[in-house]
Symmetry: none
Subunit: 291 residues, 2 copies
DNA sequence: AACCATGTGAAACATGTGTTTCGAAGAAAT
DNA sequence: ATTTCTTCGAAACACATGTTTCACATGGTT
């Protein structure tokens, strides 16, 4: 029985009693354990935005003699836990009892999610993404529609977009019917529609309505031939392959986030300025917890 | 420039052409690859019973600029940052002219997202996930709270959970204040709280209230020491590292989806049956588009 | 023999490392 | 207001690190 329990636990349990700066260091260590094993103390301190002395002090605060002891602990941990996917998969398959079936499922989910995202961000994807950006930048109003499981992705875009542009409209059917929210949509607007099979009727109808009003559509969907993608200005394909019964909208969410990031990057300092203003406003409303 | 294939191969193939002392160093490196990642060059030289200059010479003999490059390579291997990562990153960095900046950004976003998901599904994560499932299965009511950028993840879980269980409550502050929705929460319930830095006050307050009512909490957050995770029954850490200005809740969404998948898997055929019923109901309401 | 070529390790070097010290700044208590 | 007490970061420190330099040795070739 080791005298020292796991240093990570110690760090967590003592966290509340540490001084603010030490908390910053402790938090960085908890969030980036590999940095402890692989990088120098000073480098870690820099990354955590803390002077080196704080880290030394943290060591004695949690009862560790020297940084070296601490680092050795993390190095040992790194050597014991091979992070390799292949190795993990092999191990879980080797002992296929009941408790490991869950682990195997999670492993499989993880791989699928990564595959989906990788596929979404293929090189062919870039020009479509840029086209979408241009369309959004030129639009008078930006409507976003996504129902059911696709709603999170639509919401995410609308939420982030609102922070630096005020011409976004999330069409979620909450303020009355879909028709109300889409009123006045036209050729100078853009509709971003998110959805995968099984396609939700409301979403498809919104797309059809927009098309009838000559409003171009950006489709974030699971296939180039999805009903959402018919006659779309651009189609961003985000696979929803899932290990479970449900579709996975992880890739779609990721694409939406990437779209926002790209818009901000193209918007330059002006966009950043607006974001700063929005953040300040949120701070005024006491939305966030102070550190 | 030719991308370096695995340095280990290079070391083996050139072994015969090296001078005796360099062979001694090379042999030690081949036998103790982890020493390269974790120990210093001088320490490795001592262990190999060779002066430091020999190791430096070995570096240039195998065409590596500096010991640091060599060590980084071995560190990446230890972390199992698949070689394809580094390779893809270098390729995109290579063509870093102005026209490709967007492509580079997207590439970088993709890599970060994958990192986040990988980190979230680490092996240590499995037991926490199982604990969370058990807590949910035993709970009378399942409250889900997540504001701002975390809302998509919370919504996603609530939406999917509703398809096979009817004791889920999404606390979104829409039907009145947070307090109303949390009314009656107690020790037999469970609260799933999603949030990352900067922490939204309402979410933290919901967690504190739940705790004050002795209701256990499952925290899906960005750190073990997040205010949301204080005294939590289980903490599922989902990093939100992002290339853009915004946090990325992709990993959190993925974790929530995995939680649902696991619950269904553990629920067995009964859960599937309920899902089928729910789907049928949706079909009755003409929600989906028929093929 | 003299000569080059090559292999080698000790020492020098600038920089980086982990730790300690010290004084300032602020809060808490008297 | 004065005194503790804590927290903190800059600077100093002694040592380690990766690299380069240089002198010396060895062995082979003229």
């Amino acid at each position: 029985m080791g005298v020292q329990t796991d240093l990570r636990e110690k760090l967590i349990s003592d966290y509340a009693k540490l001084s603010p700066q030490m908390q910053k260091a402790a938090r960085y260590i908890l969030d980036h354990p590999n940095d402890v094993a692989l990088r120098s103390m000073r480098a870690l301190a820099r990354a955590a935005n803390v002077p080196p002395s704080t880290v030394t002090r943290l060591m004695s605060a949690i009862g560790v003699e020297t940084w070296r002891d601490f680092r050795d602990h993390y190095q040992d941990r790194l050597l014991d836990n091979p992070a390799s996917y292949a190795q993990r998969a092999r191990e879980t398959q080797r002992t296929d009892n009941d408790s490991n079936r869950d682990a195997h499922l999670l492993e499989s989910i993880c791989r699928t999610e990564i595959d989906n995202i990788s596929a979404a961000f293929s090189p062919d994807f870039v020009p479509h993404m840029i086209t979408a950006c241009e369309a959004i930048e030129d639009a008078r109003q930006v409507f976003i529609v996504g129902s059911g499981a696709a709603y999170p992705a639509a919401f995410q875009f609308a939420y982030a977009y609102r922070l630096f542009c005020d011409n976004g409209v999330l069409v979620d059917g909450r303020s009355g019917a879909f028709g109300d929210e889409l009123r006045g949509i036209g050729r100078r607007d853009i509709l971003i529609a998110v959805g995968a099979k099984p396609y939700i009727r409301d979403t498809v109808r919104a797309v059809e309505y927009a098309r009838s009003q000559h409003c171009p559509v950006i489709a974030v969907t699971d296939s180039d031939v999805s009903p959402i993608a018919v006659d779309a200005r651009t189609t961003l394909v985000a696979r929803d392959t899932s290990q479970s019964f449900f579709q996975s909208f992880t890739a779609a969410l990721s694409v939406m986030q990437a779209l926002v990031a790209l818009l901000v990057a193209r918007g330059g300092p002006k966009a950043l300025q607006r974001i700063a203003a929005a953040e300040e406003q949120l701070a005024v409303f006491d939305t966030y917890l102070e550190d």
